[in-house]
């Protein structure tokens, strides 16, 4: 396991920041074992914070409830995901949530923290004694605790056919389809999407029509393929989403741009599609 990690660090080049991407500072966070040895030196005066977490168990179904957990912030990493893992390890192993990369690239830990959608691994725990409320993504069916049913979201992504479609083969057969730097720059702000569903689940229009409206994430990806100069099915793609419900449920509420943990602006991409529909 360590082998693979070392290989990855050596191989990466310093990334060029695109205008859309936010700077996410890297941090050496203490692991649980190291933190506990620090705790003994901390002594008294623990910095307790209460987390109210949405709980619902399908095996003992009743009403969903907010359960309180107190965490000593001195013993815990800075992010909400650190707190959740600490609760699961030490206090309540039955707490269920999705997580994978812990660095904001996989999109698994998307949840609603203090009313705002975001990734748990990127949201810092707010210092101070106010309670933090953690609930699953709003208006999504809950499978257990903080885990929601994402199948509708993924089906909508699948429905826009997010792959390169060409009518003619490549100009040099067997080689890459070439693209100028300017054309590649058109995809910036769209390719970074990690499909965390924070934007779609923050859109009130998506709340009221989840089955018919595609949602900001799927439409962002639709624009990514429409704007790709290598793709030859632009007209067909535009016609496929030129629908009262699929596209025009967007009323530029722009909650999506606020919620995106990667700093993308789905609303802007949707406006671009609408403009293309108008002109085309």
């Amino acid at each position: 396991m360590a082998f693979g990690l070392i290989g990855r660090v050596v191989g990466t080049k310093p990334s060029r920041l695109s205008t859309a991407a936010r700077l996410i500072p890297a941090r050496w966070t203490s692991t649980g074992s190291e933190a506990q040895s620090k705790a003994s030196s901390g002594g008294g005066g623990a910095n307790l914070k209460t987390f109210q977490i949405y709980r619902w168990n399908p095996d003992n179904p009743g009403k969903p409830e907010l359960q309180d957990y107190k965490i000593d912030l001195k013993d815990c990493g800075p992010m909400v995901l650190d707190a959740l893992i600490k609760i699961k390890n030490e206090m309540d192993p039955s707490l269920t949530f999705r997580r994978s990369c812990r660095e904001g690239i996989c999109g698994s830990c998307a949840m609603n923290i203090d009313g705002c959608n975001g990734l748990a691994c990127l949201t810092k725990i707010e210092s101070g004694s106010k309670e933090t409320t953690i609930t699953p993504l709003p208006h999504m069916f809950v499978i257990k605790d903080l885990v929601v049913d994402m199948t509708n979201f993924y089906n909508q992504y699948k429905s826009i056919e997010p792959w390169l479609k060409r009518k003619n083969p490549a100009s040099v057969p067997g080689k890459e389809i070439l693209q100028s730097k300017k054309d590649r720059a058109k995809l910036d702000g769209m390719y970074e999407c990690i499909l965390c569903a924070c934007c779609s689940t923050s859109c009130p229009s998506y709340w009221w029509n989840p089955e018919s409206y595609l949602g900001p994430a799927a439409l962002l990806h639709a624009n990514r393929w429409i704007s790709d100069s290598r793709d030859e099915y632009t007209k067909e793609r535009l016609e496929a989403i030129d629908d009262e419900f699929k596209l025009y449920r967007c009323h530029t509420i722009l909650n999506c741009a606020r919620a995106c943990p990667k700093g993308l602006n789905p609303g802007k991409q949707i406006t671009h599609i609408k403009q293309l529909q108008q002109s085309g």
Binding site: W56, P58, P61, F141, V142, I143, T151
Partner: protein, 90 residues
Amino acid sequence: MGASKLSGMQKQVLSLYRGFLRAARSKPTEDRKRIEMIVSTEFRHNSKEVDRKNFQYIEYLLRLGTKQLDQLKSPDIVSLSSVKVVASKT
């Protein structure tokens, strides 16, 4: 006797049950009986145990059932099987 109007949720449950039985018809005979038995015991058990007003749980079971039905409908799937898990007291 007065016609008892079924609520929307009850109709969904019944249509899911019907869907399972129809899917079972397309499978070979022995598996068909097993599927029908598993599905009918599950539905009857839930109808007795689950509170009629517990909408969240019923909707959860409906979604779970619909996903399982979609899997069952595929021609590659041959049969259903179920295991009873009893929590040990030790």
